[in-house]
Subunit: 316 residues, 2 copies
């Protein structure tokens, strides 16, 4: 009998184009969807596929009531299937993706998903295994302070997912040990850690845009910003080298919420100029809602966009 | 940036045991489920995974009403995903298999399926592409005469799927061009073609068990039956060499419906003796319903069982 593996390899000679893969990991309500939306819009839906890794939940909401763990627990998800689908997408193959319906809490009919030029995978666990991490060109972890994330989660889950504020708070308490055990450890595997937060030393009035602190780790080659930015803490934007938790030197970009649009735009142009792309940075970056914008968010997205386009250039 | 493919390969070092894969292809109501059931029972559910390739339907029953083709058409199915899942199963990997609910006509929540020692894949299209065929160790096509299949389909679809006889007949007419174009061509890719039918030259009374005509093609090594069977047409069981449609020499085993249980059992023992298995052929073979048995079916299943067990032996 001829060897089956060889036979399969011979029959599967097509080599589809491989997409550039970006992971956006973070806890529930850390801002993953907002970050993703701006990028998809900037690239265009015809060039960019985005999927949510939470669709790999193994149990529906009713079944979970009987279980001793929350969706943050690996055992509550088909992480092996997630890995498999990430590999397939990274190889340019389509997948039949499961669908978790956040509104009803049910597992619905799966969706046929084909990878376009860029694939953005956001979710609770995209960086949780060695194999899943290997599938990405660029990895991000969203790391807001817990009190900010809790506010965001209450806001969203009461408005969009039919929970009461009390239920959301109780849920956050129940999830905390699993956040600590399974979500936050992914932070160490990200090329970029983004933290949106007020600046602790300042007493900005409510409504001041959040600042961004971006850890730009040397695991990938970032656009060179040191020529335009200094490590002077008195300015609204500064770049500083520091030691990461494990001692590795790393860059940390601070963009203050009160930085002027002009300042931010100047930096955006510097980053954009390193790419050989027509026009300027897309206007869609930085949008939070239809009438709310954030320059720190725009800059974060621009740096990601830089990486996506640069990775695509390098693979062709 | 290190090469993503290499990185994925390095992270995915586990090599699960590969199962023996059997395809049972054939048109709607050709007897695929009956054949499969007896095999699964003989092997035991702890050793055997069976899946239905019709679960890869791309549209539900309501959507299909608007479409110009039937489920027999490749475009009505995610055959690329079917291929992918067959490859994964053949490599010993789990899949998240879509589920088509025949009772309601809806596409339901997918199922996590892990390949056990043996995987049986029955359906309309398992042999329809080169890559899908490459995934199997043994392939079967069920080829009953059309009038028999039509009777079976009316019986089943009125009893189990909520259709009227008129609807089933209209459906058969509508499906015929696609049966001819997409289902029957798979016959030529099977290692074994099984035809259950009355013997044309005899005028057996209704209720006589159907006979089996098994084309045992030289694409795999069959148990040697020529020592116990002759090509004498006067006996209830005979083995004959003939030319296949393309001129290749092939074996054809005839088992008449009126063959005695003793005769059939003798042949079953001969086949079984070629395997180094304990005990005799499993009793579950040949069961059609709880109170209906067929020796020709039992023999067909036994030959398949022989191949499954032999393939497993050869791969270890």
């Amino acid at each position: 009998m001829p060897d089956k593996i060889l036979r399969m390899a011979r029959s599967d000679a097509s080599t589809p184009r491989r997409p550039v893969m970006l992971a956006i990991a973070g806890d529930s309500a850390a801002g993953k969807t907002t970050l993703t939306k701006g990028l998809v819009e900037a690239l265009g839906e015809d060039r960019c596929t985005s999927i949510c890794a939470d669709d790999y939940h193994a149990y529906d909401r009713v079944e979970r009531k009987e279980l001793p763990f929350t969706p943050l627990h690996p055992d509550c998800n088909y992480l092996d299937i997630m890995e498999q689908h990430l590999q397939l997408l990274a190889m340019g193959r389509p997948i039949l993706k499961p669908v978790y319906n956040h509104a009803t809490g049910t597992l619905d009919r799966p969706e046929y998903v084909e990878p376009k030029e860029f694939v953005i995978v956001e979710g609770l666990h995209p960086l949780s295994t060695k194999l899943s991490r290997a599938c990405f060109d660029v990895t991000v972890f969203l790391d807001p302070p817990e009190e900010i994330r809790h506010q965001w989660k209450v806001q969203r889950d009461t408005a969009k997912r039919g929970y009461t504020a009390e239920q959301v708070v109780a849920d956050l308490v129940r999830r905390e040990p699993e956040s600590a055990a399974y979500i936050r450890p992914q932070r160490r595997y990200a090329d970029i850690v983004a933290r949106f937060a007020p600046i602790e030393s300042r007493n900005d009035p409510p409504g001041t845009p959040l600042s961004a602190e971006l850890l730009l780790r040397p695991t990938i080659q970032h656009p060179s910003l040191s020529s335009v930015l200094t490590d002077d803490h008195r300015t609204a934007m500064h770049l500083k080298i520091m030691r990461d938790a494990d001692g590795t030197p790393t860059d940390c970009l601070h963009v203050h919420g009160h930085a002027s649009t002009e300042e931010a735009r100047q930096l955006e142009k510097t980053i954009w100029a390193e790419l050989e792309e027509d026009g300027g940075p897309p206007d869609s970056l930085g949008r939070i809602t239809d009438d709310q914008r954030s320059e720190p968010l725009a800059l974060t997205q621009l740096i990601l966009l830089y990486h996506l386009l640069a990775a695509q250039g390098s693979e062709r």
